[in-house]
Symmetry: C2
């Protein structure tokens, strides 16, 4: 099977299959989305205009039984940050896209008129169909109705009303294995980009899921089995995450004094344990209905850190509640009630809003005095206004910076227009470097230093000291860019960092997949190349080192209880960045 690129021109309603250009063949996922954006998108274009493109790509290892290889990369020029963006989600669709032989889908241009469209993909090829009365629906209802139109066994990638309304905090919903809409390529407003193309959804109608070509099948199978063992033996990916989900971090980060509370005023929250993963698991079990509190986001995942949160009657209310979501809609807002957090999370999923940014926006709204901190029902009302399309709803739906700018609030924790996630950079300084440096806007997943700063995976770098954080972050950024290109979940990193057989096993799997003879150096080069391409694009957009900065209050206002400020030297960060500024 020759891999191909699917190009969908929305203005001409024309779909073409193209051979994969040579330089794209050796990469995948984020590696290919970022490269296509650099090659094809005018950097200074309006992100919601005709010249921007939406690129969807499966990882190098997607479509195979390599464990945890089902991350789908979605990229474009971000409506939120105005820079390059890749957001990925774990979903069966990653496997399906690779199994159908598509290296990437490129969606370009904008159709005339107000009709929205569906892109339907099956073993027979691709076609565009009018969305008709499916336009405007929330993701939950859309997912039900779309299965009435086709059949039960499809998987769906779609936007909600927020994306259709071109809100910069709109994400792209991807199905989990049960067909739920809760797996989001959430950050950077890619849902608004998809909305600007008037593409409501992409339907995957195929029974193929592990059909990607493999050069050396036996060696691949051996490597994958070994990788499963390595992941299961690691205490974080084998025990902590499977038992409590990512929200196992709530109590840990709180104990570390790094849980951003009341819009980044404090590092601890009194009600942390009430909204923790432990409490979530206990409720899931006691309210019944779902058996185990955790499940997988894509077939082949052996970590299973996702969860389903039941309401008081035991009915599924929301899936998943991630740590970052529980934080954004909880401690960040002084809300200590999991039921309210779950309700807010569900509204975000239904509208197609990124939960971190939504929590950020609500926090700034509280800062502006629109509702008081801790006001859960007020927060629900504000998110409902997003769905109603009121002026205030539009302000909130456009993200934290939008609320801050509209109401003149200076205490807004964003970098490049994207809100900081659930780790205070004054108490986990490595992640502060990542927030500032990455091309993506504040993004914990771009270089997750919580590994070394907190969990002591792969070594320890004191989270409260400025020393060593830049190198830590940069190394992790490179490794992450590689993982994102493979289509691997970043939670494999704990095992890769701790177990000396980890990375060599990934190298073996990669070589078995492609028939090449790569080394560990090639993996690092794969990551570096992604970072160089992304920085080159952002440079052409007009980003400079002056944009690689945290908001000023992180350097001036000490965070209790450690009373530290973010004091990593900017010169050190700028120097490290220079090495990624040499695209060739």
């Amino acid at each position: 099977m020759e891999e191909k690129i699917l190009r969908v021109n929305m203005a001409e309603q024309k779909i073409t299959e193209e051979p994969v250009p040579e330089p794209y063949k050796s990469t995948g996922g984020r590696g290919i989305t970022s490269r296509i954006i650099l090659d094809e998108v005018e950097p200074t274009c309006h992100p919601l205009g005709k010249q921007n493109k939406l690129v969807i790509a499966a990882g190098i290892l997607s479509g195979t039984k390599c464990p945890n290889s089902g991350r789908l990369s979605i990229g474009g020029k971000s409506p939120l940050t105005n820079g390059i963006k890749e957001a990925n989600a774990g979903t069966p669709i990653a496997h399906q896209l690779a199994s159908l032989g598509y290296k990437a889908i490129i969606v370009e241009d904008i159709p005339e008129g107000n009709e929205q469209y569906l892109l339907y993909l099956s073993d027979e090829g691709a076609r565009l169909e009018p969305a008709g009365d499916l336009a405007g629906l929330g993701t939950y209802e859309f997912n039900g109705r779309i299965r009435e139109r086709y059949h039960e066994k499809i998987y769906v990638l779609c936007i909600g009303p927020a994306g259709e309304r071109l809100m910069r905090n709109a994400g792209i919903s991807c199905n989990d294995p049960e067909g739920g809409p809760g797996r989001f390529a959430g950050r950077g407003g890619l849902g608004a980009l998809m909305g600007s193309k008037k593409l409501k959804a992409i339907i995957f109608d195929t029974s193929k899921i592990f059909h990607a070509p493999i050069e050396e099948k036996e060696k691949f199978s051996e490597g994958s089995k070994k990788f499963v063992k390595i992941l299961r033996e690691n205490p974080i990916s084998g025990e902590g995450l499977p038992k409590y989900g990512t929200n196992v971090l709530m109590n840990l980060v709180n104990e570390a004094g790094a849980l951003p509370t009341k819009n980044f005023r404090f590092g601890t929250f009194e009600g942390a344990d009430k909204v923790s993963g432990e409490e979530l698991a206990a409720r899931a079990l006691s309210r019944g209905g779902v058996g185990t509190p955790t499940h997988n986001c894509h077939p082949g995942c052996v970590i299973r850190c996702s969860n389903i949160y039941p309401d008081e009657k035991g009915e599924a209310l929301c899936s998943p509640i991630e740590y970052e979501t529980a934080w954004a809609l909880g401690p960040n807002l002084m809300i200590d009630d999991l039921d309210i957090i779950a309700r807010l999370n569900r509204i975000c999923n239904d509208l197609g809003l990124d939960t971190i940014e939504a929590g950020g926006a609500l926090g700034v709204a509280m800062e502006a005095g629109i509702i008081p901190f801790g006001d859960g029902s007020g927060a629900i009302k504000l998110l409902e206004e997003v769905g109603q399309g009121t002026p205030l709803g539009h302000i909130i739906g456009q993200g934290a910076d939008s609320v801050g700018k509209t109401y003149g609030v200076t205490r807004v924790a964003t970098v490049k227009g994207q809100h900081l996630p659930a780790y205070d950079p004054r108490a986990i300084k490595g992640i502060g470097v990542t927030y500032a440096m990455t091309t993506m806007g504040a993004d914990h997943t771009a270089g997750y230093s919580v590994t070394h700063n907190l969990l002591k995976a792969g070594g320890y770098v004191d989270p409260l000291k400025p020393e060593g954080q830049v190198k830590l972050s940069a190394d992790l950024q490179v490794a992450t860019a590689a993982l994102d290109s493979f289509g691997l979940c970043i939670f494999v990193a704990f095992a890769l960092l701790d177990n000396p057989e980890g990375w060599p096993t990934v190298v073996d799997i990669w070589n078995a997949k492609t028939g090449n003879n790569h080394s560990m150096d090639d993996i690092l080069e794969l990551g570096r190349e992604v970072m160089r391409a992304e920085r080159e694009f952002n440079k052409r957009v007009g980003f400079t080192s002056a944009h690689d900065r945290l908001p000023e209050f992180f350097r001036t206002e000490p965070l209790p209880p450690h009373n530290t400020v973010f004091d990593v030297k900017t010169e050190e960060m700028d120097e490290m960045n220079e090495q990624f500024n040499m695209y060739h």
Copy 2:
């Protein structure tokens, strides 16, 4: 009289007088505001945070009887563009500030608490007073009430509710000779910067107006008289502007096919003559009450292009209605009723909003479908919402980009976040270069190529061709930066460009004022130095040539009736800019 700098620390409520540092002595106005910002303001700071500063300076020639030397420069890091900003207004205050011996006022830091303050300046010095119940007032009522608190013969610089609410489209109101609040340092959101300092107003209580020191009085007097003659002999500054005000341009620009109509869709407007300067003058005369339709904005002005627009009963409704205002609230919105334009203008003045940006914001609101194009009463309601502080009012009050981003509109004519004024860059291409290149965001006054492109003052450059526009704009930008440093009105430029005795006379006046022996080259160097300082600041903020661009639709969508696009080469603009990137 030794000139001094007045430093007002709002946090400490402390006022100090400082000697003028050597490098500042030889400049004034924009030359000094921009230099102080470069020297004292952290470029990456939040424009509404403690680290930004508001700088107010009189021109080199302000406080003297040199004609048209009463422009007051106000600067800071712009809340609207995030870059350096200077906006100037013609007002008696320019003369008073210089007469009191202040080279500049620097307002810094932010006080605790919610109290707002007044800065009171008199012959005895300066003091801060609580604004008390004068906070929150519109500029009209404030100007009345402040005179009750002090006395009739004060002049006032203040912000309206928009500035107090930290809206990025807030300007700073300055008094005209009659004490009216309609002379604005409007652009770039400096009113929000003043609001962030909790400074409601500055009161000038002095009878001194032409008391600035002059080295060679007789020579100065001779030069000034000659300059008056030169200005009066020029057909534009001696006849067109005095007769009809700046709105004499409405019919001219319409005839040139360069009048941006319906949010920059067309270059002509059917109702142009109904909202022209000729019509305005006719109404002012026929409705009576004000005698002559034009008046001056500061003592010593011999052009007198300002006006007072009477309502149907002959009562003053608004002063002035400038061409750019009449355009922004007229043809831009498909409104052809001067009474409505005057009402919109008055609301802007009262709230303290820049009229160009307000018109831009209303146009984008119409683009978004919030109200239809041409809906005058809808436009009035939207501006009233700004005063009421509703969510939609906040969105509008934050300017055109805010409306565009909040509602996902891509057709937004802004550069660096500031809305384009009343000349379409596809049909007057020199001004398009200025919009794109200047550090100020889209600003016609920064390099007013309408001189050569349309009025044939100082030569002719075909407005529809790309050739020659970059040099034209750059030359005008340098000359303007010099005029803004002298405190001279840019309308002296027509005479300076046309009459070979013009610039030499300004050189003579400058030398008589300072006792130096400057040449024309020194004037150009004065201008270049300002541009270098401003570009250096913006570079440190993170601006690159990628930001020196017009919105993409100006390059892709031809403008009727000439059906031209903006096709000046970006390489040519970037090359020209390089020469201003060498600050030393």
